[in-house]
Amino acid sequence: MAKNSAAAADSATVTMASALNRAMREALSEDSSVVIFGEDVGPLGGVFRITDGLTRDFGENRVWDSPLAESGIIGTAIGMAMYGMRPIVEMQFDAFSYPAFEQVVSHVAKMHNRTRGAVRLPMVIRIPTSGGIGGVEHHSDSSEAYWTHTPGLTVVTPSNPADAYSMLLEAIRSDDPVIFLEPKSRYWMKEKSEGNLEPLPMNRARVVREGTDVTLIAYGPTVSVALETAELGTHEGLSVEVIDLRSLSPFDDETVGASVRKTHRAAVIHEAAQFGGYGAEVAARVTEREFYHLAAPILRITGADTPFPAPLLEKFYLPNPERILDSLSTWQWED
């Protein structure tokens, strides 16, 4: 299919979906220990078609459909990784990774530590994450706060095709297990900006737009929302810097700190519920480290503290540029 043959360099013309597909193709080609399995990832190519064509091109012993059981998928991937393979598994949606919670938290995250480093689990858990596509209940959760609170997990999320490609390859090659969150609302967007992205290690945040008045800290699906906000902000005379975190765990204190020391104000934006969300960590740690540089508290503009709503209500739940700008106006800008 055309979308798979597009080169990453030529990223202005590719979608995140095809960039991810291409990263997996490359990994399968270069390393025979890479395997892919999960629900519907074989002939169907996954419900989002991210593994499109991989069974056909690499065979059923490299890319295959597993039985329908997420704990089973993660648990067997652990055993495979213990035997030197590099499994990539897909959880169909965040909420359907929850049956595997014990395997992820008690084993994926802890095996390396448990064995004093003797056992490595080089595996990637891909999860199409977040909302914005009008999914019915359980199809729009953002699970990052559960994973990032769990020591032993590395959690990353790309916001554009170029990063999706390079970060997935890096995650597959990593000797640590990686939770790879794919913002499903971005799968089919053709991004404008990523053609000229510098390659960057997956554990670093990226300043995607420079500004001087305020730093918007975003990741995954909210990066484009932050960029829109920045654009809108110019009309109000606001110079907005936007950071794409890329890596949620570890957190890039350096890049974010530098920005905040420049702008003195920051807001973090995510889709997940606010209470105990990832934004709390961002706000707490940046405040801890940069308190005396902050002119105002770090705001969190996030999903509401409610379950993710039904499709027709999601627009009221998700952070949007107007709401973000409104929130910034609650700060005491004058002092």
């Binding site: 629900e39 519907d40 329908l68 909420a95 009008g134 039904a310 027709l312 107007e322 409104d326």
Partner: protein, 377 residues
Amino acid sequence: MSIDLATPLPNVLPDDAPFRLIGDTGKAVPPKQRKGFELPSIETLSLIYRKMVVARRWDTQVTALTRQGRLSTYPSARGQEASELGTVIAMRPTDWLFPTYRDSIAVLTRGVPTAEILTSFRGDWHCGWDPHEYSTAPQVTPLATQLLHAVGLATAAKLKGDPIAAVTFIGDGATSEGDSHEAFNFAGVWQAPTVFVIQNNQFAISVPYSKQTRARMLADRAVGYGIPGFHVDGNDAAAVYAVVSSALERARSGGGPTMIECLTYRTEPHTNSDDPSRYRNSKEVDAWRAKDPIERLERYLLSEGALTDADRESINAEAEEGARAMRDALNKDPVLDPLELFDHVYFAERPALKEQREALASELASRGSAGRTGGGE
């Protein structure tokens, strides 16, 4: 839970061939092959037939409107009407049903109004009806989780001495989830009045039964929980009705749970957004379409002289009326209150949620919205 060890435990396996009362050609099987089950009465079979026709018409209508983009998603149960309605019509109103996303026609047949079923598929809210009103739980998405709810509810009824049973549907794919095992096992040891109806439609989205399990049949699992297991032709409404009825009676009278595998086929895509051409060929589908459960029962009723032209007319009228009700329900603009987002998270009040509610209210007000608004883009 006081454990009763008196009842003998079954340790036999079902036959290879699924149990039937009415064969492919619409002929009843000879009494000696009925394994002690009775052929349901003509009245019952006529009712099931009528409801299957109504259900199919409704399902076809929803599917059509979904294709037009007027619903966010809809998983059709076309071809599974015998399993769905043979089960539901065997239930009493006081028995509880725990359905999945696939089982809308079962929910419809339980008496839930069309508009209340559509609520979730259109995207107004996650569940549109009051489960207590219809003794019918919300249609569940996280696979296999509902089996445990059914076992819990059944156990509560048993502890209270209420003579009801809980019935739950589950797909072949979902039987691979750990929760299904836990539910079968809890039901067995607690002797919970639960009837597990496995609709083995041979696919879990794109994954065929052969990649799902190496079990000869799913009903072979029952023996591992010490509960009776049945392997039934899921396109024979008479067999489904008979086996479910007897399981319900056993359950209500203290005889514990039953596992019933209905062998059927998903002739439609998984949902409207699926593309089955990627994973199966149409010959197989056609072969199963030819085994249509409605036609089979129709042949039987015709051969018994139990389906007159007047009957057909009245059935068709009811079916058209159902389809019309569906279109009407969909034509009404959903009444959506964005502020309702905050109203049901907890029973108790929460100041912090009230703050968030007020923030949205003033946001909506400042945008010139009246607070109430139609949904969609």
